[in-house]
């Protein structure tokens, strides 16, 4: 609350600074009429002053907020009775939590001892002091910044360039977040993976034919054997992805062709967004649908045909995943088909080719690299898809390519390993991170290849 107030005041000050900056710049050249004598527009002098006023103060505020907690905490602790002070760190935390609850007027447990009440009062007063201090410090910083910025103004001063370079650094900062995200991903899975490979040889992990990670996590438990061969997971993942692709590629591609080449504009106007609804449906819904509607349906029909269908058949998960991917393929294909220049169509039609001949012999071959790139992207999406397989695919790592059997996937294993028991020294939990790393690498390679292909293709027509 107090910080909100502070920020509001700060914003007000910045507005004032802006105004003062504008005024000063105008005054220096003898009123608004002399603006031509300035290097930049008056508003840039305003922004410049406002930045000087606001930026240091905001940085200070940020520091203050992040440090305030621990400083106050230390102060409170030093005032607590000896006995409490010597408690281990963790318990001290609980006491502090209690004091904070008390001070904030939250409900607390049990009777309030006088020391606690006193500490809470102390806490409150410290908090007040801190806020007061922060007001003073930050506002004086703002005012100091303001006057500095104000002083710097002169007609030759390149205010626009300064303001723009601050802005530009801001933009640059934002664009690097992607790098940090990737770095974060790699770091958050890498260390655990390294520990994992310390216990399980990487060759066994990559080439092992058996996956049975649910090993005992306590000495007095008997789990499964603890085999960490990732091949069955990958075969399962790829099997499901393959089924998904077999569903999504023909339907998606043909839909795209039909909608962009044949359909009347009216039909397209309705069919396209309707089809794209599929892309917006959350995967948890697909999972629900796969587990409760599609899987039983396939089972029952398989039964009628005398087939032995597992109730978490790869087919069911793959089919539903395929449905999910249809719009992905169709809109990507749509893009690349539309990127084939009209002149290609004209050339083919001009020779007397029929529409389908034009599509099959000219447009598709020309768009092929783009479509292949799109399919690769879709494959990487299928490999990484989680909720559908968590809800509809199996858990047992069968090494099979029979779509009627149950297989498991990399993502399913990550979820089961991490949502279940967690023992951060056991290869069982660490395996989840190794799988995460593997998944990241595989999709990375697929994506890089796919993006290359797509980009190269796009360039060809630009």
């Amino acid at each position: 609350m107090t910080n909100t107030l502070l920020i509001l005041i700060l914003l007000g000050l910045m507005a004032l600074a802006y105004h003062l900056g504008v005024r000063r710049s105008q005054k220096l050249v003898g009123g608004p009429g002399g603006v031509r004598g300035l290097h930049s527009l008056p508003s840039y002098y305003g922004f410049f002053t406002a930045l000087w006023c606001g930026l240091p103060a905001l940085i200070m505020l940020l520091l203050w907020v992040s440090l305030q907690g621990s400083v106050i905490r230390d102060l409170i602790v030093s005032d607590l009775p000896e006995a409490v002070r010597n408690l281990p760190e963790a318990r001290l935390g609980l006491v502090i939590n209690d004091i904070q609850n008390l001070a904030q007027g939250n409900i607390v447990s049990g009777e309030v001892s006088p020391e606690m009440a006193q500490a809470a009062e102390h806490y409150k007063s410290l908090l007040r002091t801190s806020y007061a201090a922060s007001f003073v410090v930050i506002l004086s910083l703002a005012i100091a910044g303001l006057s500095l910025g104000w002083r710097l103004i002169s007609p030759q001063f390149r205010a626009r360039n300064r303001v723009e370079s601050v802005l530009k650094w801001l933009l640059i900062g934002c664009s690097t977040i992607a790098i940090f995200t990737t770095l974060g991903i790699v770091l958050s899975v890498l260390f655990e993976s390294i520990r994992f490979f310390g216990q399980i040889p990487i060759t066994e992990f990559l080439f092992g034919l058996e996956w049975s990670p649910q090993m005992a996590i306590r000495e007095d438990q008997v789990g499964s054997s603890g085999a960490f061969g990732v091949i069955p997971l990958f075969v399962g993942t790829l099997l499901i992805a393959l089924i998904a692709m077999l569903v999504a590629v023909p339907i998606g591609l043909m839909s795209a062709i039909y909608l962009s080449e044949y359909a009347g504009s009216h039909f397209r106007a309705y069919a396209k967004p309707l089809l794209e609804i599929l892309a917006g449906i959350p995967t948890v819904v697909y999972g629900f649908f796969a587990a409760l509607t599609v899987a039983p349906f396939i089972r029952d029909n398989g039964e009628l045909l005398g087939l032995d269908v597992s109730s978490e058949s790869a087919l069911a998960a793959g089919l539903v995943m395929g449905i999910m991917i249809i719009p992905f393929i169709s809109s990507l294909s749509d893009d690349v088909i539309n990127a084939v220049p009209q002149t290609m169509r004209d050339a083919s039609l001009g020779i007397g080719a029929t529409h389908s001949e034009t599509v099959k012999k000219v447009i598709l071959p020309a768009a092929l690299p783009g479509i292949v790139g799109g399919i690769l992207l879709a494959v990487s999406r299928a490999i990484g898809e989680t909720m559908i397989v968590v809800m509809a695919a199996g858990l047992s790592a069968n090494l099979t390519v029979n779509p009627l059997q149950s297989v498991t996937t990399v993502t399913v294993q990550i979820v089961t390993l991490l949502v279940g028991d967690q023992e951060f020294d056991s290869p069982k939990t660490l395996a989840a991170f190794a799988l995460g790393l593997l998944l990241f690498l595989v999709t990375l390679i697929l994506n890089v290849v796919a993006l290359r292909v797509v980009r190269k293709y796009r360039e060809a027509y630009e």
């Binding site: 220049p341 039609l349 020779i351 007397g352 080719a353």
Partner: protein, 294 residues
């Protein structure tokens, strides 16, 4: 209605100083369009268009144009930008069908057959009336496949060697054979602009069409490539009937036997090329030829 006559001059408000400065088309009676000046018929007509109107949606893009295209002649269509040259040309093999909002009225015949007859099939029509476009547009396939594309889809050949022959012959006719005979498997898009355009011409003649339509075939080419293509057009005239749209009067003068001058959707004047350029009969044609605008 679309002509620049004094009675519509109020709308376009010609600037006062302009006439004196000699910039603007002189707006007098001689610039009114009342039907086409000159002889629209050809000696031995291959295609005949009569009273053709073309609309894009509600917009009239071609207004009552009649014109014959004679056998073994090159007819050039010139006129300022947007006057409907391309539109008219594309009517001749129904390429305008591909534009949803485009509607064609009137009669266009190829050898006595109305090509806008509902019973008529565009596929064989376009095999008979081929087209070469402004920007060279080879398929991103091999040179061989580019040329073989037409014969293949139309099933014109029954054996590989027959196809080879057609490809070779077409490339020969297009004057490209010597340049590409050793690299038929390379992709057509790797050729230079002028070569690409000749490849497109080879692709068109490979199906042995009767008429070839060319829409500014040289406008994307450099002078040397242009010269090469112009020479080719001159050679092809012996076998094919050619209609060419060009924005360059010089080019029209160089390659064509007859020239048609379009203005704002109307066919203003048509006649022997020599006559048109040396002795234009219509005021608008004269203005255009003498560079008063354009």
């Amino acid at each position: 209605m679309l002509s620049v006559t004094p009675n519509t001059a109020g709308v376009v408000t010609l600037p006062k100083g302009l006439v004196g400065a000699g910039f603007a088309p002189v707006a007098d009676e001689s610039r009114a369009i009342n039907g086409t000046v000159g002889d629209i018929t050809a000696v031995d007509p291959r295609m005949t268009a009569r009273n053709v109107n073309v609309y894009y949606g509600d917009k009239l893009a071609i207004n009552d144009v009649s014109l014959d295209i004679g056998k073994n002649e090159v007819i050039a269509m010139i006129g300022p930008s947007g006057c409907g040259k391309s539109t008219f040309l594309r009517c001749l093999n129904r390429m305008n069908d591909t534009i949803d909002i485009c509607r064609v009225e009137g009669e266009i015949k190829l050898d006595e057959q109305n090509i806008y007859d509902s019973s008529l099939d565009v596929v064989p029509l376009r095999a008979q009336v081929g087209m070469v476009f402004q920007k060279p547009n080879p398929f991103p396939k091999s040179i061989y496949d580019n040329v073989a594309y037409g014969p293949r889809i139309h099933g014109l050949t029954s054996s590989k060697s027959e196809l080879d022959d057609i490809v070779e012959e077409s490339l020969l006719k297009a004057g490209l054979w010597d340049e590409v005979k050793d690299r038929l498997a390379e992709t057509g898009t790797g050729l230079s602009g002028g070569q690409q355009q000749r490849l497109c011409i080879a692709r068109t003649i490979a199906v042995a069409p009767e008429v070839i339509l060319m829409d500014e075939p040289c406008s994307a080419l450099d002078p040397i490539a242009t010269a090469r293509v112009e020479e080719l057009i001159d050679e092809l005239r012996e076998q094919f009937t050619i209609a060419i749209v060009t924005h360059s009067m010089q080019q029209a003068a160089r390659v064509s036997q007859r020239t048609a001058y379009f203005h704002l959707g109307q066919l203003v004047e048509v006649g022997k090329t020599d006559d048109i350029f040396t002795n234009p009969r219509h005021g608008l044609t004269e203005d255009y030829i003498t560079g008063r605008f354009g």
